[in-house]
């Protein structure tokens, strides 16, 4: 089984994001960048499928500037067999990125393409499903369970009030949610091995997008309220505030 994992380099989730002088991008200086956490679920799923089958190939792929190679090395250290760096600048329009990835995936002989559910920077939550649609491949998003047998995949995904079950034949595209698995950490041996694994660099020409960032701003801070009291004795004061002041009861 040949599995492709599109990955993205994102600001660490604890990073304090500030707005750059242009008003429409985030400052990168001083920020720690990591492999998108949801892409770790995708990569773990791919590695586990390969290991379970005792054969196969896991290819990590990133579309981005040269810094993407650092993230690809992380994926190689976790266990991906090879990496592809699609050179270019990701667009705020997910369809542009999906097309660039689709151009590579098409004809790549992949049985599975596993995306993250979302990138924790742009929160676009769209690249995977768009790429599937562009290539006419079956797709389920935000899966929390995946099993593959006899060329058929069975997945689960959480919807409001329940868990949806679905099946499709391979090749297929899934986007991976937390709950799917617990990603492994790169081992020291993996980190050493990653340096020698193949990383192919491919120039791309991304199309014009139909989404333009007008501005970024920081939301108003939520201000601290009041400590109504200590222990059970404070319950009447809390109830009073919820009923009379906030009117939510």
């Amino acid at each position: 089984m040949k599995i492709c994992i599109p990955i993205r380099r994102v600001a660490d989730t604890t990073a304090k994001v500030t707005i750059a002088a242009d008003g429409s991008s985030a400052n990168e200086a001083g920020i720690k960048f990591v492999l998108n956490p949801y892409d770790e679920f995708a990569l773990e799923a791919g590695l586990a499928l390969k290991e379970g089958a005792g054969a196969g190939e896991v290819v990590a792929l990133a579309f981005g500037p040269d810094s993407a190679q650092e993230t690809l090395r992380t994926a190689l250290a976790m266990g991906a067999d090879s990496a592809v760096h699609l050179q270019g600048t990701p667009s705020p329009d997910g369809l542009v990125n999906a097309q660039v990835i689709a151009d590579h995936v098409k004809g790549g002989g992949y049985d599975l393409v596993l995306f993250g559910k979302l990138a924790v920077d742009d929160y676009n939550q769209q690249t995977g499903a768009m790429m599937a649609e562009l290539l006419g491949l079956p797709c389920a998003t935000a899966i929390t369970s995946l099993s593959v047998a006899g060329g058929v995949a069975t997945v689960e995904r959480e919807v409001e009030g329940g868990v949806e079950t679905a099946t499709c034949s391979l090749p297929a595209v899934f986007t991976c949610d937390k709950g799917l698995n617990t990603p492994r950490l790169p081992s020291l041996k993996g980190i050493m091995a990653a340096k020698k694994k193949p990383l192919e660099i491919v120039p791309t020409s991304a199309g014009e997008g139909k989404a333009r960032v007008v501005s970024l701003s920081l939301p108003p801070e939520r201000t601290a309220g009041v400590i109504v009291g200590e222990g059970a004795a404070a319950v009447p004061a809390l109830m009073d505030a919820l009923i009379s002041k906030s009117k939510v009861l």
Partner: protein, 322 residues
């Protein structure tokens, strides 16, 4: 091309939450250019509630009734929408689990950009401008979308449209399509209670509970609200296996905005706050007066949750009985 299409979600013949937000947002876009709003409902049977879509602001309701829509059928809905999309200047859905799955598929099939999980919409001469939280709500992005954009509106962000429309019911022929994904059904979640994404009140617990069996304390408080409260959780307790993943609130869990959010034995890590900071009223109960959760809470009680929460459940029951 000044009209807007809303894809309305239904399950088992009943409308799902979010339709009124999506229609209200669609009205804003359509009204800017004197257009109409059509609501498309795909189902395998008559859907109860479609006669109310007019009051929400839909001029027409397009009913696609076919056995292929017994379960969610993304390939079928995409085909139905792309078949008529050229009549519209935008397509709007509610940003539920299903809407978020559908929006990018529709966008790719009609070649438009996708504004995901937006909290505000504005129509401009050249397209649609949306505002959306990114970086887990740490930043607000204003995005200008051109072409035929697909917009997924976060439920609970739009007040219902003030003036109703005719909501004329029409039948639309089922599309021809290739079913690539087969949804086989929906299992109830492990916990029978309400989903955090849909509840008016969320009672969320963290590591302060000390033991999985102590979730009973929170369930009792949730029960006191009589069917409008759900039990939520921090990642720490989800990862420890104390409660299922669907209950997790935060960066890698669900983003929620209930009217009332109780954070109980939850420290208030930045990744937790990312999922609940837009709640209307936040109440924190924590024995550490310096816990970061108090910095975002409207009301706080410093104390042992095992003492405070049962007393609170009693008080809520009494208040509800009046």
């Amino acid at each position: 091309m000044s009209s807007v299409l809303v894809v309305v979600e239904q399950r088992d013949g009943a409308l799902r939450k979010g339709a009124s937000d999506a229609i209200a947002a669609a009205r804003l876009i359509a009204d800017a250019s004197g257009g109409t709003v059509d609501a498309l409902v795909a189902s395998d049977r008559a859907v109860s509630g479609v006669d109310g879509l007019g009051a929400m602001g839909a001029d027409r309701v397009l009913n696609v009734t076919d056995g292929a829509f017994a379960h969610y059928n993304p390939d079928g809905i995409v085909a139905a929408v792309s078949g008529i999309a050229e009549q519209y200047r935008a397509v709007v859905v509610a940003a539920t689990a299903t809407g978020k799955d559908l929006a990018p598929r529709i966008a790719a099939s009609i070649g438009g950009p996708c504004g995901m999980d937006v909290t505000a919409v504005e129509a401009t001469a050249s397209g649609v401008t949306v505002t959306r939280p990114i970086y887990a709500g740490k930043v607000l992005q204003v995005l200008e979308l051109s072409g035929t954009p697909v917009v997924a509106v976060r439920p609970g962000t739009y007040p219902a449209a003030s003036a109703g429309k005719a909501g004329a019911q029409e039948a639309l022929a089922a599309p021809t399509f290739t079913r690539r994904l087969e949804v086989t059904g929906i299992k109830g979640s492990a916990r029978a209670s309400l989903d955090v994404a849909e509840a008016r009140v969320i009672v969320a617990g963290g590591r302060g509970l000390g033991d999985p069996k102590h979730f009973a304390v929170l369930e009792d408080l949730a029960a006191a609200f009589g069917g409008e409260a759900a039990v939520g959780a921090s990642r720490a307790v989800v990862d420890a296996g104390w409660i299922e993943h669907g209950a997790q609130v935060g960066q890698t869990g669900k983003t929620v905005a209930p009217e009332l959010y109780f954070a109980i034995g939850v420290s208030g890590a930045i990744q937790h706050l990312a999922g609940m900071r837009t709640s209307k009223v936040i109440v924190a109960i924590n024995r550490d007066k310096d816990a970061p959760i108090f910095k975002v809470a409207d009301y706080g009680i410093v104390g042992d949750l095992f003492e405070v929460v049962p007393a609170l459940a009693d008080a809520v029951r009494k208040a509800k009985a009046h």
